[in-house]
């Protein structure tokens, strides 16, 4: 199963490979120069733009960690967490960060969620025997994350408003339904794959 191993290698290679060949065929190579410059800069700008808000959230969450608030919140969700992430030992910090990431995602605290998610991965990594390979817990965490958790789609509401919708926020209900179902599907699919391993 070579294709499964290091999938990112293959995807990354082919996106650039096909892009350059297709660009050459369609006479778009000049444009590609600009894109490389622009996107490299964009990566740096984006990472730097995250520093402030990530520092803020990690600082605030450290207070909640020290005061025991996170622990109390996690206790409420522990049964659910145990079911979704059976491999994480009870009381391991990974649990806290995963929950914080889910909560921040749900309420659309986008960059805060990223900060917590990265901390969660860091903690999950300490539980991993092979530090090049994703564990079941890491996979499940990301699969849920990529299923989208955000309750209120603020960007979409804004666009609807701009285009003169009669009721821009009427999309919230169906979106929450769709998001809930997609997360449920994600957990089930993730569990099926876990069982197959």
């Amino acid at each position: 199963m070579k294709g499964v191993f290091f999938m990112i290698n293959i995807i990354w290679f082919f996106m650039i490979f096909i892009g350059i060949i297709y660009g050459a065929l369609t006479g778009n190579l000049g444009e590609l120069n600009n894109i490389i410059l622009k996107e490299a800069q964009e990566g740096v700008t984006f990472a730097i733009s995250l520093i402030g808000i990530m520092s803020f959230w990690l600082g605030i969450m450290n207070i909640a960690q020290c005061s025991g608030l996170i622990k109390s919140i996690c206790n409420i969700f522990r049964p659910m967490m145990k079911m979704i992430f059976p491999d994480i030992p009870k009381g391991h910090p990974a649990e806290n960060w995963i929950l914080m990431n889910f909560i921040a995602n749900m309420f659309g605290v986008g960059n805060g969620a990223t900060a917590f998610g990265l901390k969660a991965m860091e903690e999950l990594d300490t539980l991993s025997p092979n530090n090049k390979k994703a564990t079941n817990a890491m996979s499940m965490f990301l699969i849920i994350n990529m299923s989208s958790l955000q309750l209120v789609p603020l960007t979409i509401i804004k666009i609807r408003q701009d285009y003169g919708s009669i009721n821009p926020t009427s999309i919230i209900g169906p979106t929450i339904l769709a998001t809930g179902l997609s997360t449920l599907v994600a957990i089930i699919v993730g569990k099926i794959f876990e069982r197959g391993n």
């Binding site: 990112i8 990354w12 740096v44 520093i51 860091e122 530090n131 090049k132 990529m146 979409i156």
Partner: protein, 182 residues
Amino acid sequence: MLDIISIVMVPFMVFIILVHGYIKGIDIYSAFIEGAKEGLKTAINIMPYLIAIFIAVGIFRGSTALDMFIHLLSPITNLLGLPQEIVPLVLIRPVSGSGALGVVKDIIGNYGPDSFLGNLAGIMMGSSETIFYTITLYFGSIGIEDYGHTLKAALISYIISIFITIFIYGIIYNAQFTLFNI
């Protein structure tokens, strides 16, 4: 109601956490500084992964290879019964968030924000994530190269969710339509 919740959420969380820490007698200032130090480290750590994925997506999109890809795949997606207008969105969404947003704007612009397609595009955009960006960012940050079943599972869930969304929203929309006509 819910948009109010998401606006007050950040100040509310900060308030509760600070008050709780203060009552518990924690050295809140030192705790904040201690945590905030991690922010810089994390941001620098993820920078190369962001650059890598941005450039790959940028080249793939900018060369119009993505458009070609959509064109090639459209017979398959048509066969599956996806509405023609939604197909580009379905294919771009996992790869590029800004690209997908552009498509959503097109659809809403062309068909109106309150049309079936306009609503569907909005719901699909709001209930999915940029899978490739998320996966490279999070795995990259801890140096994981073998993703195991993660990407496959995420894409399969994504596809299943699209069909569920189209199906259920179809029912909701028709029900509304019937109600308003009575």
